[in-house]
Amino acid sequence: MKLLNHTTKYLAILLVPLITIWAFIFYYAMLDEIYDSLDDGLDNQKVLLLQRLPANPEILEHKDLELWNHSITPISRQYYDKFETRYSDTLMYMLNEKDFEPVRVFETKMKYNDAYYKIKFITSMVEEDDLIRDLVTYLIVLYLSLMITIIVLNNLMLKKIWKPFHSLMSQLPNFRIEKNHQIKTKDTTIEEFKLLNQSITTLIDQSRARYLEQQHFIENASHELQTPLAISINKLELFLENTNLSEAEFKTLASILDDLGRLTRLNKSLLLLSKIENKQFIDEQPIDFNQLIATITEDFQDLASHKHINLKIDYRARLKFEMNKDLAIVLLTNLIKNAIVHGSQNNTVTIIVHQNSIVISNFGSPIALDTNLIFSRFKKISVDKKSTGLGLAIAKAISEKYAIELLYSFKDQHYFNLYFPKGG
């Protein structure tokens, strides 16, 4: 859920009790005011009646409450002394409404010409059910208009305010540390966004510096390893020739030599990987992949026949693509070698060249490989100790460099598909 909708949601929920509570307070406050003014009005009627009485003594004969809105009843002295002025609510039948409606009643007393009277005044009162109905209607309208205003304002204002944030967010998913593209921050006066922009810029700059440092560290370390490796290998080779060794000793030394060879290959692969990532293969030329595949498979023919694997190459189209030649060789060599090394004996490794793609497939273990791990560094799928675990990682790095899609799939056979970008 968007932040914008979140705040709106909370506001919508919070406003319901708020408005309800407010409605109660408002209702009683208003009712209180109405009673107050009605009672004042009734008081005023009494004053008016007393003023008119000397001139119009027939007022004392007014008994019909419904006709005169007041009635005057003579009372005894005792009753007069005990009587206290009071206001009360009651219902009265209204002819126009044909229903009992609430009325306000004011009962008071007076002494006139030594006689005692009780006077009753009435006035029509506000209809509470109508008042509540109206109040609820208006409050719902108020609530809805408040919500609409909030949503519209939020959308307009927050969108504008959050612009630096959204601009940042649209760039971050595309950020790749290995590519040297900058994140462009939008200037803003909002403190929080300023801080965010600053932090992101610093974070990216620092990460990028570390990344480059590490990249060059791997490259430098690999370089530095070459000489001691060369010395060890050569010393062992000289030693093997020099000395009269028993077969067992000879084989032990030879296996050390083999391990040093593996170390050398690993080192070379690491160096190659960091060189690809450090963009040290610039020189590009159109590569004829049909021809390249023919050359590479010829080199692998001996390995394949040794494993009784039949190499089947099907050129369905001519595929040309512009890239670095050494990298093209490494890419296809690694994939073809992978298919042969992991291919099962007495079976076929198939290479099909299409207009814009190459498919290399081999029979092997009957279970699909983990697509998440297969192209990762040092994730060895097999237990084969001679493999460096970098071959497919290198192939992936090369294909990514040229926007070639390298995909793995499994259906009876293990398939490695290379999809070349069109017009490349």
Binding site: T227, A230, V341
Partner: protein
């Protein structure tokens, strides 16, 4: 044949010196730029092995000086950097070959021999061993003056073993030389065996033989 090794790493230098001396070359050494500059100014060599990263200068500068002074020594650049730029720069400056570290001793012999051969045969390229003659220019092989038909790999294997005759050549070194660097991660080098078997069959009437050494490598011997 007189060789000069310019290499600042003493152990590397010692290894190279030992193995080349065993091939009966006269080997001189220089461990830095100024010593090397002095030596190439005074003496003539048949082949110079040149490390490009020297403590007091760049090997490529030495190569420039050498070529500028009109000397035509064979030069093999030996480098730990294995960088394409250095390789291209070196070859453009007139180096004969580029050998990235680490390398096998047998590979070093092969490269040195190839350079010397190109410089000294002068149109009459021809190697004889036992009753076998090899013509590297045309890649032809004769056994007692009868042509022997070899495929590309068989020829490369034979040539490599002859270059390193009577010395142990490991399977790894042989595979990397004949099948190229990219074969090097193959799960085993046993596939070499079938080519060796074919080669042995073809060399039935030759007075040279390819011996297996404890399953580690091969050695070419001359039958006397």
């Amino acid at each position: 044949m007189k060789l000069l090794i310019i290499e600042d790493e003493p152990e590397m230098l010692e290894n190279m010196r030992q193995t080349l001396e065993r091939q009966h070359y006269i080997v001189e050494t220089a461990t830095d730029y100024s010593a090397a500059l002095h030596k190439i100014g005074v003496y003539d060599y048949d082949c110079i092995l040149l490390d490009i990263t020297l403590p007091d200068g760049n090997g490529l500068e030495l190569l420039k000086t050498l070529k500028a002074s009109g000397k035509d020594e064979g030069v093999i650049i030996v480098s730990a950097k294995d960088s394409l730029d250095d390789k291209l720069a070196g070859l453009n400056l007139g180096a004969d070959d580029y050998l990235p570290k680490p390398f096998h001793m047998s590979e070093l012999h092969a490269r040195v021999k190839a350079v010397l051969r190109r410089r000294h045969f002068d149109g009459n390229p021809h190697i004889s061993i036992g009753n076998v003659s090899i013509f590297p220019e045309t890649r032809e092989v004769m056994v007692e003056n009868q042509p022997l038909v070899l495929n590309r790999k068989e020829y490369d294997i034979l040539m490599y073993l002859i270059t390193n005759k009577k010395r142990l050549v490991t399977k790894t070194a042989l595979a990397e030389h004949v099948w190229g660097d990219h074969i090097d991660q193959a799960d085993s080098f046993d596939f070499i065996y079938s080519q060796i078997k074919n080669l042995r069959k073809k060399l039935e009437h030759a007075t040279i033989t390819i011996e297996a050494v404890y399953g580690v490598g091969y050695k070419l011997e001359v039958i006397s």
